[in-house]
């Protein structure tokens, strides 16, 4: 009894341990599913680990992780400031399309000019996508979750529409846009990739992700803006009472969050895809961002690590077929991890309920228990 309670205490008080435990539980549940399917747990997980630990494998993981980190930062930023940016998916899509349009139409510009221009276009597009929703919320009180989900679909079809415009559409048979100009590509040089034995899509977008991680941390922790946004996130009435413009804060938060998601789209396009296909279903980067933000506890550095972890799962997971295990196993693992992270509330409530149940009968009990625990 006391052992169990103290364990709960320990887990709920220590976010890092809690997340780590959730991840282990995720793999445990995955292992159970593998066992039920009669597949070898060791072989599947061995494959997962071996495919991400080589240099080439790890470079793939980093490439996969870039958009996840940046979109994760976007969602984490919105969490910190009290809005739930479920619209990162749409912001990602308009961001990558904006970067594609610039990268195709202005392809003759020199690299040092074109790449920042693509980034700016993507961030602007994402920010606008976020601000429209913010405006609907602050002006008419429309729930941002609903309008964001709808804006995801608007972005989806807008992207398909733009991809069909003759000036943008591929000249070949592909159902996609043209490839962006090589001047807009963030790929490392072929020479370097071959010499180091990296993934063919290795690119320096990860540096942008690092800078963004630091920047988001700086904004949230070290600036007045971040302080105001957080205050609105904790309690918007108290913030308003304290003299903070709540509506302006929400718009700012969504603009920054949207810009980050849009940038994620640009990084994915310029580093990996180099073109955007006509979607037949949502690619899910925005939703992955929510998972990454949750695993990373909405802490910028946590998000960075979670993004790498998620990238590793996605890249390693795509190889599970090679040993006969279904790739959907990854979804089971991720789902379980998110589930156990999300029920942290239950951990805390359990603890709270136990204390409350004891308190009125024996007021001295908590003190006595504490003594007992110290021994």
């Amino acid at each position: 009894m006391t052992k169990k309670k103290s364990f709960l205490d320990f887990v709920s008080e220590n976010r890092f341990i809690h997340i780590l435990l959730s991840i282990l539980l995720g793999f445990l549940v995955g292992a159970i599913f593998l066992a039920i399917m009669g597949l070898s747990v060791g072989e599947a997980y061995g494959r997962l680990i071996s495919s991400v630990t080589s240099l080439k494998g790890f470079s793939y993981v980093v490439v996969y992780a870039i958009p996840y980190i940046v979109v994760g930062l976007s969602v984490a930023f919105s969490f910190k400031t009290g809005v739930f940016n479920i619209g990162a998916e749409g912001q990602f899509v308009v961001g990558s399309m904006a970067a594609a349009v610039v990268g195709i139409l202005a392809g003759n510009l020199p690299k040092p000019l074109l790449i920042p221009l693509c980034f700016l276009a993507a961030m602007a597009a994402g920010a606008i996508w976020g601000v429209i929703v913010g405006f609907l919320k602050t002006r008419w009180g429309i729930n941002e979750v609903l309008s964001m989900i709808m804006f995801n679909w608007i972005a989806f079809y807008l992207s398909n529409f733009i991809a069909g415009i003759p000036a943008i559409h591929s000249d070949g048979t592909a159902e996609a846009t043209k490839n962006i100009s090589s001047n807009a590509s963030t790929l490392l040089s072929k020479d370097l990739i071959n010499r180091l034995g990296l993934a063919p899509t290795a690119n320096w977008g990860i540096l942008v992700a690092v800078v963004m991680t630091l920047l988001v941390w700086f904004i949230i922790e070290k600036t007045t803006l971040g302080y105001e946004l957080k205050a609105v996130g904790y309690n918007k009435f108290a913030a308003e009472y304290g003299g903070i413009h709540v509506n302006r804060s929400i718009l700012t938060a969504l603009a920054i969050s949207g810009a980050l998601a849009g940038l994620g789209g640009a990084l994915q396009l310029m580093g990996m895809g180099s073109r955007i296909s006509v979607f037949s279903s949502q690619e899910g980067f925005g939703f992955a961002g929510i998972v990454v933000a949750l695993i990373g506890c909405s802490n910028p550095f946590g998000v960075f690590i979670a993004g790498i972890f998620y990238g590793a799962l996605m890249y390693g997971g795509s190889k599970l077929n090679l040993v006969g295990a279904p790739t959907q196993l990854i979804n089971v693992i991720v789902g379980t991890v998110v589930f156990f992270i999300a029920i942290s509330v239950i951990f805390e409530n359990l603890k709270y309920l136990k204390k409350k149940a004891k308190a009125p009968v024996k007021p001295a009990a908590p003190a006595a228990e504490k003594e007992g625990e110290q021994k």
């Binding site: 006391t2 052992k3 169990k4 103290s6 364990f7 205490d9 320990f10 887990v11 341990i17 435990l21 282990l24 539980l25 793999f27 445990l28 292992a31 593998l34 066992a35 070898s40 747990v41 060791g42 072989e43 997980y45 061995g46 080439k56 793939y60 398909n160 069909g164 070949g172 048979t173 592909a174 159902e175 996609a176 490839n179 993934a199 063919p200 899509t201 994915q268 990996m272 895809g273 073109r275 955007i276 296909s277 006509v278 979607f279 037949s280 279903s281 690619e283 899910g284 890249y315 795509s318 190889k319 077929n321 090679l322 040993v323 790739t327 625990e373």
Partner: protein, 342 residues
């Protein structure tokens, strides 16, 4: 102290489980790998392996091949986004697969790039003939021939003299479906009207349904689609409204057994098996491999119960004439002015 102990115990439990799994399995898995196997890897397009269309058909073909001949090892990798094609192809190359089969022309650019970078690696691509490299086999299908046959069926069974056609996208390869179909319809029923619609998507089932219902309002009583997932909506609408639908690529009668009169089959499974066997026997040949009526690469689906006997006779006669070379189906829009989408 206790809490740390509990945590350590919990961790031990998890790792112990993973560890015992690994020790029991690694011995069993490494043994059969020693025999020299022909390894065939298949990369799907974003439709995934359960698309009820050519990804699924070619995977089923490969599975059947591996089941009957244990010297084949077959595997697939699914692509979730456009950017995954290259990664998946490279995975198979890194794993030392003998042949990488890329399903669909969406993979053409990625295949060309990988084939140029790895001249020793053998590739096959389905539905694309644009790659001219010594290590790439292009598996092409005479879709106009199968479409022509279902066109004959449609022209024969229509009572309203109005038939419909939904195409997934306008491109030279896709237009062949429409050209063949319309040629067939007009041959069987010279004064028929063919309503044509370009859905501009292979994944818009709702759009396919709307287009089909629109055609039905205008009097169509048979609709053929060459539109992948969009076509699912077409068949659904035909099923609801009680008119005939004609499927494509695979035998789609399972989707609506009472209302799919037949399907224009593309034997992607046969093509994948052939090229895999060729790799094993050392007879792999690059360039275009054409699958048509004469080698059974395209045909009417085996489900033909709804087709009247006399119509079936006409179709069989036309098929024999094409195989014998007495008849040819046009392949350009110029030869088929009634086709308006191109």
């Amino acid at each position: 102290m206790k809490k740390i102990l509990a945590l350590v115990l919990a961790l031990c439990m998890v790792f112990a489980l993973a560890a015992c799994g690994s020790s029991s399995s690694s011995s069993s898995s490494s043994a059969p790998a020693a025999a020299a196997k022909t390894k065939i890897g298949m990369v799907t397009d974003v439709g995934g392996v359960n698309d009820k269309s050519f990804n699924q058909t070619s995977w089923e073909g490969l599975q059947a091949l591996a089941a009957e001949d244990s010297s084949f090892e077959v595997n697939y990798l699914e692509s979730k986004t456009d950017a995954d094609y290259q990664t998946n192809i490279n995975t198979f190359i890194d794993e030392g697969y003998d042949l990488v089969i890329c399903v669909g022309y969406m993979l053409a650019d990625a295949t060309r790039e990988a084939a140029e970078a790895n001249p020793e690696q053998k590739f096959a691509i389905i539905d694309d003939s644009s790659i001219d490299l010594p290590n790439v086999a292009c598996l092409m299908f005479a879709q106009e021939q199968a479409s022509y046959l279902v066109g004959l069926v449609a022209g024969s069974v229509t009572e309203s003299k109005t038939v419909g056609y939904v195409q997934g996208m306008v491109s030279d390869a896709m237009n062949l479906f429409g050209i063949g179909y319309i040629t067939g319809v007009l041959e069987a029923c010279p004064d028929a009207t063919v309503l044509q619609y370009n859905a501009n998507s292979f994944g818009d089932s709702a759009g396919g349904s709307t287009a089909a219902k629109d055609m039905i309002t205008k009097g169509a009583d048979v609709i053929y689609h060459a539109a992948g997932g969009t076509g699912m909506g077409v068949i659904e609408a035909c099923n609801e409204e009680g008119i005939w639908a004609i499927g494509v690529d695979t035998d789609q009668s399972i989707l609506a057994p009472d209302h799919v009169i037949t399907s224009a089959m593309k034997r992607v499974d046969v093509a994948s098996q052939d090229i895999s066997k060729a790799v094993k026997d050392g007879t792999f040949a690059a360039g275009v491999h054409m699958y048509d009526l004469s080698n059974g690469g395209v045909d009417l689906a085996p489900t033909r119960d709804h087709i009247p006997a006399d119509v079936l006779e006409t179709v069989e006669a036309a098929k024999a004439a094409i195989i014998a070379g007495e008849k040819s189906v046009p392949t350009s829009t110029a030869d088929c002015p009634a086709f308006t989408l191109g």
